[in-house]
Amino acid sequence: MLETLANRYTYILFALLVVVGLYMVVASSNLVKKIIGLNIFQTGLFLFFVTTAFVDGGRSPVIPKEADAGAAFASPLPQVLVLTAIVVGVALTAVALALVIRIYDAYGTLEEETLREVRTDE
């Protein structure tokens, strides 16, 4: 069992990062920290995809014109998916931060609890 897990260490790390990220989203009171948590969640997911592309003893997927037949390459497909997802992630982060700035502007706080109090006073 232990060996099974050790052989899958990046997948374990994926699981850990997903859980840590989601925990931050739920448990952090600070809005910026929630967004960082979301980012950690997503990078864990990227690690998962990159791992599926990985081949032990292989090469990165830059395939020269005359590739020698025996050479093993990492799969380009999951890497492309991750590239796309990283860019999607930063786009979401940017919009989230714009919202945070606006919320701060209106309520003067970034702490969720304080925010809740301010809003119930309305």
Partner: protein, 231 residues
């Protein structure tokens, strides 16, 4: 709440959540925390050519080695941000002009779509680069390069720089005036009877003083005030 804002004129209390205080634009903490430093400026001057070159290299060299337009565009954007940190946002923005940023972002998107649409004009699919080879003898590779260099890189560079400027300028407020502003280019709708439908409940919006102005009805000079205010 914008602790260092130039709280001029309105004479109201700057309570959190009150949008009606303050000048039309939030003044800019990123700007006011800016400290002019000869060392940083010199360093940035020295580094800029190299990082720009590296960005361009990545952009154009993604075909045969790792890297590509995303990374290249991001590094070019990062270079601009570096300049902004060293020399201040307002001068950088003046130097770069809004038009450039918009042209990069919108133009990149349009270019990407149009390159993709060309094959469709010949009855092939969207983004069918091999058609260029069949019809014009242009290698497929150049189709890929076209969307990468002509589309993705400008979008990434333009939007990232734009995002930085927008976030740095902060929340736009249309203000502390009860008079609807007018400007020449506005469309012919009647602004004064615009129903105020999109806000309720919040003390910020229901104060009503700003209620009837239009967000895009700002005179042109005010639109640069976010960063220009400190000039």
């Amino acid at each position: 709440m914008s602790n260092n804002s130039n709280d001029t004129g309105t004479g109201k209390e700057s309570a959190p959540g009150d949008w009606t205080t303050d000048s039309p634009m939030v003044s800019n903490p990123a700007e006011s925390t800016y400290v002019e430093s000869q060392i940083i400026m010199t360093t940035v001057r020295a580094v800029t050519p190299f990082s720009l070159t590296y960005g361009l290299f990545l952009m154009f060299h993604g075909a045969d080695s790792p890297g590509g337009s995303f990374q290249g565009g991001a590094i070019i954007a990062a270079t601009v941000l570096m300049i902004a940190f060293a020399f201040g946002v307002a001068p950088t923005r003046e130097w770069l002009r809004n038009r450039t940023v918009v042209a990069l972002a919108a133009g990149g998107t349009a270019a990407f779509a149009l390159v993709g649409l060309v094959p469709m004009a010949f009855g092939d699919s969207f983004l069918a680069h091999p058609l260029f080879n069949e019809e014009f003898g242009i290698k497929t590779k150049w189709g890929l390069e076209a969307i990468e260099v002509g589309g993705v890189a400008p979008i990434v560079a333009g939007v990232l720089v734009g995002l930085f400027f927008v976030l740095a300028a902060g929340m736009f407020r249309d203000g502390d005036t009860t008079e609807p502003r007018t400007d020449g280019g506005a469309a012919n709708h009647n602004r004064t009877d615009q129903p105020q439908t999109d806000d309720e409940g919040s003390p910020t919006a229901s104060t009503g003083t700003e209620a009837q102005t239009d967000d895009t009805g700002m005179p042109a000079e005010d639109t640069t005030a976010g960063t220009g205010g400190d000039r």
